[in-house]
């Protein structure tokens, strides 16, 4: 074997910069799940009866369901009785403004490179910060309120806007949708809520930063974004977790609703702890994300950069209900070390003249296994629909794998569905060419991989695109040298 590929093989070695944990005084629920635990969570949050009932119905449904087995993933069985379902940093005192955010939490976010102090942050991005089970701070609330935009933690939305939450909760992802969605519906603790009223363009990017801190816990957040007629919003989420030898479960649900001519752009940079070079530890990331283009000519666009987690299982999809609505999915998924990803999308075409675009870029390195799984479903009602899918895999080193499972169901003869796929390797020729020009092997690898992902990165908001490129370089660090 040539030295270049031998060096590439060492791609497994990578540094995780967010692996620290913070010593917070944390309020924990007892281990395991029961109706009592759900009532406890609900009581801690002071929830109304309808929500407790909904949780309990979800829990009962969950108990009749079993873990899905169709995915192309191998992992140790999850012991659902060994997980703490609620962990909240204890507030030192009731806080009324951001200035009163616990200094330790503030320091933790500073260390993550996210300042919760508004004046110091990148202007134009409002942040909801979620630690373990609760939201600890939301910035720019007043400024957003002036525009009529509601952006707050899910718990606060339940208290202050119960009618909105009740109208849309579970309307896109019903609790019976799948095993992990049912679990989330039973125990979800916090997350972000966003409501953009009719005709309003949200004046700034909204973002949620999710942080798992406590040990032995799972994170089950729920995000709900509603854009009314003609409204538009761009939302970003980022995630990190400490390095631990045990696996931690993250099972989130995200629901998006877009009315007539509304647009929602949802971007994710997922960097949960991926486990060490030998595959110990890391987050199990089982996530259900779906958007509903309820109105005519509405548009929902998912962009994801998945570099973290030991296991990734997620298929952000769009239900294209409104005539002329548009769904998009742009994805970069990196599996290095012993990481495994089974990810893709579902585009369900119901309305006439609906259009979807799927661009998936999968990168496998080390012993990583990367699976694209995508469903394009065109119902009998969906006249004149179009889908274009492009699915590229890049292999780095001899021990990784790339797999593609496209599912296409077409019930209307007028549909135009295109699927393109390719698999390539970072070639010795490319590396040598760059090195001959003086570019060191590590930088050259990173350049080639970033080039491969460019189509997706250009869909990300500016700050995120830079972050994503940096993250990819860090994740590939140690590839050589």
């Amino acid at each position: 074997m040539s030295s270049a590929s031998a060096q590439l093989e060492q791609l497994a070695r990578r540094e995780y910069a967010y692996g620290f944990s913070t010593d917070l005084d944390t309020d924990l629920a007892p281990k395991g799940l029961s109706e009592d635990v759900i009532r406890l969570i609900s009581a801690k949050k002071g929830e109304p009866d309808w929500l407790v009932d909904w949780r309990l119905r979800a829990y009962r449904a969950w108990r009749t369901m079993s873990e899905p087995a169709w995915q192309n993933l191998r992992f140790e069985p999850i012991d659902y009785d060994d997980i703490i379902y609620y962990a909240a940093p204890k507030p030192k005192a009731a806080r009324s403004s951001l200035d009163e955010v616990d200094p330790e939490i503030r320091a933790m976010f500073d260390k993550l490179g996210i300042s919760l102090a508004e004046q110091e942050r990148l202007s134009g991005v409002a942040i909801d910060a979620v630690v373990d089970s609760v939201s600890v701070a939301t910035t720019f609330k007043e400024k957003l309120a002036e525009a009529g935009v509601i952006f707050c933690s899910f718990s606060e939305a339940v208290r202050r806007h119960p009618e909105l939450v009740r109208a849309y909760l579970g309307s896109v992802v019903p609790y019976r949708d799948n095993f992990f969605a049912a679990l989330n519906s039973a125990v979800f603790t916090d997350g972000s809520f966003c409501f953009v009223p009719k005709g309003v363009r949200c004046p700034m990017e909204l973002s949620t930063y999710f942080r798992i801190n406590a040990a032995g816990t799972g994170q089950f957040e729920r995000t709900l974004i509603v854009a009314e007629e003609g409204a538009s919003v761009s939302y970003l989420e980022g995630c990190t977790a400490p390095m631990r030898d045990e696996n931690q479960l993250h099972a989130a649900v995200v629901e998006l609703v877009a009315m007539d001519e509304a647009q929602i752009k949802y971007s994710t940079v997922q960097n949960w702890y991926p486990g060490d070079a030998d595959g110990r530890g890391g987050i199990y990331n089982f996530v259900t994300k779906r958007g509903r283009c309820a109105g005519a000519r509405s548009k929902i666009s998912w962009t994801q950069v998945e570099t973290g987690s030991a296991i990734t299982w997620k298929y952000p999809g769009v239900v294209l209900q409104g005539d002329g609505s548009v769904g998009e999915f742009y994805s970069v998924a990196l599996s290095a070390n012993h990481q495994q990803a089974d990810t893709g999308t579902k585009m369900i075409h119901i309305g006439k003249d609906t259009k979807s675009t799927i661009v998936s870029k999968a990168i496998s390195a080390g012993h990583g296994q990367n699976t694209y799984r995508g469903l394009v479903k065109i119902l009998r009602s969906a006249e004149g629909t179009r889908n274009h899918t492009r699915c590229d895999s890049l292999l780095i080193g001899p021990d990784c794998g790339a797999h593609t499972f496209p599912y296409i169901e077409v019930k209307h003869p007028s549909a135009r569905v295109e699927h393109e796929a390719s698999t390539s390797k970072v070639s010795e020729d490319q590396l040598f060419y760059a090195r001959q020009r003086g570019i060191a092997e590590e930088e050259a690898t990173s350049m080639i991989v970033n080039g491969f992902c460019r189509e997706v990165f250009k869909e990300l908001p500016m700050e995120f695109a830079v972050e994503a490129q940096r993250l990819l370089s860090v994740s590939l660090e140690g590839a050589v040298g």
């Binding site: 040539s2 060419y433 090195r435 003086g438 350049m447 080039g451």
Partner: protein, 259 residues
């Protein structure tokens, strides 16, 4: 500048170079000619440090130091440039970005300041005019979808921007029309300086009409079988390589294209 002593090299268990001796003094341009399979490209790749080629014996000195001890990027930093016979495509990486990354990598390695985007743009535009390169190609991905001629022009542009001390051109002239040949020749001529040198590898004499070399070496069967002045190129063109095969001595079987 470059001293090659009894160089033997192989790919796997196939020996290709069988004792190459060659000296290129500073300030000179030398041509290496030879039939297909004679080891011309292997020589170029060994000098640049390409992986599957193993040096089994012999030495190469570049400005007095052991060239073979350096990895490819160190050789580049030392001023060695290889214009590829088959330039490689890098999808998604723009030509402009790639070239600036290369120039700045060389600058960093040499302890110089990096070149900022606007300063670089000025530099590249000047060089692009010199090689007659279409501006649009700079914002396209490296060599992706370029015609054969555009790829070669791009190599010459890179050479012009990176200003190597030792330029090695591996059959850069193959498949080019006369105008493009002129660009290659001008590119090499523009770099001529007392402290630089070039090794131009070619199959045909055509390029050497535009680019008069100081010396011509004929490589057959993995060895330099004849060296001479610029006139040797014309002699080779007229007589073909067959006459030289007899001079290869102990090589019992014909090599490459003559097989």
């Amino acid at each position: 500048m470059l001293v090659i002593e009894d160089l033997h090299a192989a790919v796997g268990d196939k020996t290709i170079l069988r004792g190459v001796n060659l000296t290129v003094p500073a300030g000179e341009v030398h041509a290496v000619m030879g039939p297909n399979g004679s080891g011309k490209s292997t020589l170029a790749h060994v000098l640049a440090g390409r992986d599957p080629y193993q040096v089994t014996s012999g030495r190469v000195f570049y400005r007095g130091a052991d060239l073979l001890a350096l990895n490819p990027e160190e050789r580049a930093a030392a001023g060695v440039f290889l214009a590829f016979q088959h330039p490689v495509e890098i999808p998604g990486v723009t030509n402009m970005y790639f070239l600036r990354a290369a120039l700045n990598a060389l600058h960093r390695a040499r302890g110089f300041e990096e070149v900022g985007p606007s300063e670089f743009l000025t530099l590249v535009q000047e060089k692009m005019r010199a090689v007659g390169m279409d501006r649009a190609l700079m914002s396209r991905s490296v060599n992706e979808g370029f015609s054969g001629g555009e790829k070669k022009r791009n190599e010459i542009l890179q050479m012009a921007v990176l200003e190597p001390t030792l330029a090695i051109l591996d059959e850069t002239d193959s498949g080019l029309d006369i105008d493009a040949l002129r660009v290659v020749a001008d590119g090499v001529n523009a770099l001529r300086r007392a402290d630089r040198a070039a090794l131009v590898i070619t199959h045909h004499q055509r390029l050497l009409d535009c680019l008069v070399p100081d010396r011509v070496h004929v490589l057959v069967g993995g060895r330099v079988v004849r060296s001479g002045g610029p006139g040797l190129a014309a002699e080779v063109e007229a007589a073909g390589y067959a006459d030289f095969s007899s001079e290869t001595g102990e090589i019992s079987e014909p090599v490459g294209a003559t097989k």
